[in-house]
Symmetry: C2
Amino acid sequence: MSAVPATWMRGGTSKCWVFRRADLDVPGRTLDATLLGLFGSPDPRQLDGVGGATSTTSKAVILSPSHRPGIDVEYTFAQVGIDEAKVDWGSNCGNCSAVVAPFALRQGWVTPTGTTTRVRVLNTNTGQVMVQDVPTRDGVLDETPTTTIPGVAGPGPRVDLGFVSPAGRSTGALFPTGSPADTLVAADVSVTASLVDAGAPVVVVRATDLGITARETPAQLDARPDLLATLDAIRRAGAVAMGLAESPAAAERAVPKLALVAAPDAGELAAGADLVVRMLSMGRVHPALPITGSVALTLAARETGTVVSGLLPDASDPVDGLSMLTPAGLVTTTYSHEQGEPVVSAVRTYRRLVEGSIELPAVASATPERPRAIA
Amino acid sequence: MSAVPATWMRGGTSKCWVFRRADLDVPGRTLDATLLGLFGSPDPRQLDGVGGATSTTSKAVILSPSHRPGIDVEYTFAQVGIDEAKVDWGSNCGNCSAVVAPFALRQGWVTPTGTTTRVRVLNTNTGQVMVQDVPTRDGVLDETPTTTIPGVAGPGPRVDLGFVSPAGRSTGALFPTGSPADTLVAADVSVTASLVDAGAPVVVVRATDLGITARETPAQLDARPDLLATLDAIRRAGAVAMGLAESPAAAERAVPKLALVAAPDAGELAAGADLVVRMLSMGRVHPALPITGSVALTLAARETGTVVSGLLPDASDPVDGLSMLTPAGLVTTTYSHEQGEPVVSAVRTYRRLVEGSIELPAVASATPERPRAIA
């Protein structure tokens, strides 16, 4: 039995196991096999490993210092299968991204500068460059829990996550179909959708077109299998239209995501919301909002003719960012520029939960037994 | 922020965080507050801590070497609340018990002897003494994964868990009412029940008396709120009859447990089952069987006039133990004696998952913020 150094961290609303890339090199095992062994997969309860048996708690973050110009840290995200012996490398996780800068600073990969230190991160899954700002003090990371975010009960240290030039990372264009809105036909429904590639590919539809309000709780929507099946069919039709899959059946579970959006009512508007959102990820309604998906909605809000911009109240100003009302509360993004490139940013918090090492199980055979009598 | 040394272990079908008692002394905090902080409670997702957001993954095991005669290790179990800021100290967990001997040996609290080392454990929650046998080799714990148990996908090192003289630990008698079977009246139903105190207090009823078969999956039973409410009312009536609560409303959630039992059919009998069981713990149907509950059923099977013995097939022999068919498979206990005392034993496996330390969050106030523009 060998042990792999690891740090367990909350990043945003996810729980992520963080590894140095080199620590995952185990003789005689593939990286996928090593991760599955550490997480206790496949097993619906992940009893024999560190996985938490839900999609937001079966995530790995793999980091190494970078020698590329303008990049401090290379970051690879792995969605570790729970009941399947499969690791999904196809997408980034915006919430887990929040652990990258703090981890890199504590490893000494980046030298703190003043009261805020900027870390430049390359996500290798998507080619996305991020700029991450974290507070530093006296030459070290400042982990004072100053900030709260929707979906997290307690305060945490703040990370400003900026996605640099996020449009078209997966498909080459913000609107891979060339149009800000398309008609998708799937499962006997025909619906207007904006197919947006920024942060992550997202299929955006009006909630009212599906007979819902986008004020439902995740549990209420998850309890409607017929609705979920229709939404997944729309999502898969969108995957084909975006060039992400050859057929609906071939679409991945994780890509694209699907957003149900609605215009805020007077009270929601007064509370600061530009848009009401429920987002589906991995077949389920997200308890808050995937941060990568919020980037897509932010850019869609700035373009005329999209499902998003058509719903924005007159009072909202999508030029500087977007405030989205999620099941967990208001998530706000900012739109700005760095060195001439557009940047969409969001605030996340993190917490270091555990530092230690995970035992890697031996590949062994089983021999069930009866109890011996105690004598 | 301070860090608390901890080991994460699977014990049987539970995942348990294991602490040395002295490491949980944090200046200015109660033990309950420290555990709640480490586990991320109260929070239905336990996002900011090491709790797994289910009853079988929000458990702490607190250990210290013992100076009592005949006892090597003192073991206290804590069920850490998830959405409640409450730690339940009222019961033991048989599955978590399986980590005690391996942890004690690795700490050097017990000296290995030959190929099997016996560790004598006092559970302080219940006053229950356990004898635990683990394989040792060359003077150290042997963690070769040799054994499988129902409800755990992979093999693990074996622990034989013996409950010494388990009858009457909570109430003073195996049958606290003085009778092997009683009639309980609750929620408009009247049902025959055996009220058994061994391992843990358990209310045992025939599944057929409630219109079910005990072959239902946990999910099928958990999806019937009316049935669960009736079963909980019976359980609470049993708590009063056993002298564990002054009124049904005052009964604890964790104590007593409720067992639904049925006679095996021909096929189940041929597979080795003496009894078919579904057990409720903390308001939900257990995915396998709480080991403490299996001790109660084992002693009930040996006594004439109980609900259990009335269902045993002629071919079964409860004198040496009991084989119970659970949702996860067959769980078998053994009945024997040690130094003249009766011992009920079961086989569990364990796995060390993580060794390290848990960051204890500061008690801080929150200040929500908007993202800054990246510039």
